[in-house]
Subunit: 280 residues, 2 copies
């Protein structure tokens, strides 16, 4: 979906599509990142810091808790969280009874022309989390997290049956000729294939003109199956609902018999706990 | 390429294709896994253990060292190594001056119908290695290693400019309807995309009938660019040379500006050092 600067319009639009998805049988529903407004991180402007709200003071969360309960669906809600003096890019996980299961704070924070998130968000301090919802065990990362195999693996190790990523990504203001959309998809297809687990990403569409920078978000939201094959994909500039159904037991049987999780070598992975590859 | 049980035929064939690749300008050349013979691991038969040789007694290695020097090319040579009483699935890295740079022993050992490698090989004890060859810094994994994001990441962290995998994979004797070829490719395309680094795999082709099990190797050797896009691919049953050229400096510039290696969170990756996801 595309977002405007009108919060209630965006919330109403998200609700419309959530109802459409639920009517089609979807039980785990993913709305794009920071859907309450435009992607404000394209401008390094202090005014936007005021958008952050304590979770208990954000009416959008309470509204979607009611919808989750009404529709018997699960979703992560992506919001800009104020926690004391700290600000985070946060997902509130809502179960199918409308309860808040807890939060995940975006671990990997990007920074670059048009995506100056390090100005707005502290790196998340929750660690990767998997939610044992009424409709399955759901791992949730947020946007830039999707580029990191470590995050997907950590969620798979924690028992995720699917991994989902709310996202905001599009053109690169520093190099308009660069289109990362297939690159972006292939990283996550790799997570799906390597962990034998379905992966989904929901991105925004539309052109947003900030005070300093413009971005055309490229949509291309998709669902990849447990071999990494894309089985549903949205257009680059269309608002739409996509869905897929998976046989969790069959996937788990293949995941086990394939042996990847039997044959890992944690004794050799020490360098992954460094930035520069030095184990010392 | 397809292999027979005649070592000298296989060596001659590999040499033929290496010369073709070098004549076409290739400088880093990848021959499939265990190319000296048929893929003996499809049968759990003690006789095959005798194939393992101490590296200094394997004439194939010395032969290809001469070819590397003559052609000014780099390659990993995949052999069955005996080291005292231990047996390994090993790559000997040969530099363009014909010298042996060292060895890498396959870290991840598969086991399943048709691929009973745990009977033949101890899990490698070298850790992941990157070779600073005369033609670039080359990371080498061996077959099953290619399914593990941790191995690719470790090689990328160690400075690899490309990652290459000699391979032997094909049909699943336990389920002939299952074709893993695209799944297999997508995992490695994911490594390429997530690490912003070209990835190559060389697989065998042909049907091999062992004493207990038959496998049709599915070829599909490929080269993926630094976004994970396949830029060269061999057929499923054809013997052929494929090649690609990359601008290492341009890739490094994109890898740096994209920021993935800046934004990793080693403090959150502790569970990767376990088999079950438990950090404790």
């Amino acid at each position: 979906m595309a977002m405007s600067e009108n919060i209630s319009d965006n919330v109403a639009k998200a609700e419309h599509y959530v109802r459409e998805a639920a009517a089609g049988g979807s039980r785990i529903i993913l709305i794009p990142e920071l859907f309450e407004g435009e992607y404000f991180c394209k401008d390094l402007v202090a005014e936007h810091l005021k958008r952050a709200l304590p979770l208990d003071e954000n009416p959008t969360i309470a509204h979607f808790q009611q919808i989750a309960k009404e529709l018997n669906v699960v979703f992560p809600l992506s919001v800009f969280e104020r926690a004391g003096n700290a600000l985070f890019n946060t997902v509130v996980m809502v179960d199918a009874d409308g309860s808040r299961m807890g939060i995940y704070r975006k671990s990997h924070i990007p920074d670059g022309p048009g995506y100056t998130e390090k100005y707005f968000f502290s790196p998340g301090d929750t660690g990767f989390r998997v939610w044992n919802t009424q409709h399955g065990r759901v791992g949730v990362g947020i946007c830039w997290d999707q580029w990191f195999p470590e995050a997907a693996r950590a969620m798979a190790l924690a028992g995720a049956q699917c991994i989902i990523y709310p996202t905001a990504i599009g053109s690169e203001p520093a190099d308009p000729s660069w289109d990362s959309s297939r690159h972006w998809q292939r990283v996550m297809q790799g997570h799906a294939a390597a962990n034998i687990i379905p992966v989904m990403a929901a991105n925004r569409v539309g052109h947003e003109k900030g005070s300093t920078t413009e971005i055309t978000f490229y949509g291309s939201s998709f669902i990849a199956d447990y071999t990494g094959e894309i089985v549903a994909e949205a257009g680059r500039d269309t608002e739409e609902v996509i869905s897929a159904e998976f046989d969790v037991a069959a996937i788990e049987a293949l995941r086990t018999s394939w042996g990847l999780f039997r044959d890992r070598r944690p004794d050799l992975y020490g360098s992954l706990l460094s930035l520069d590859g030095n184990v010392e």
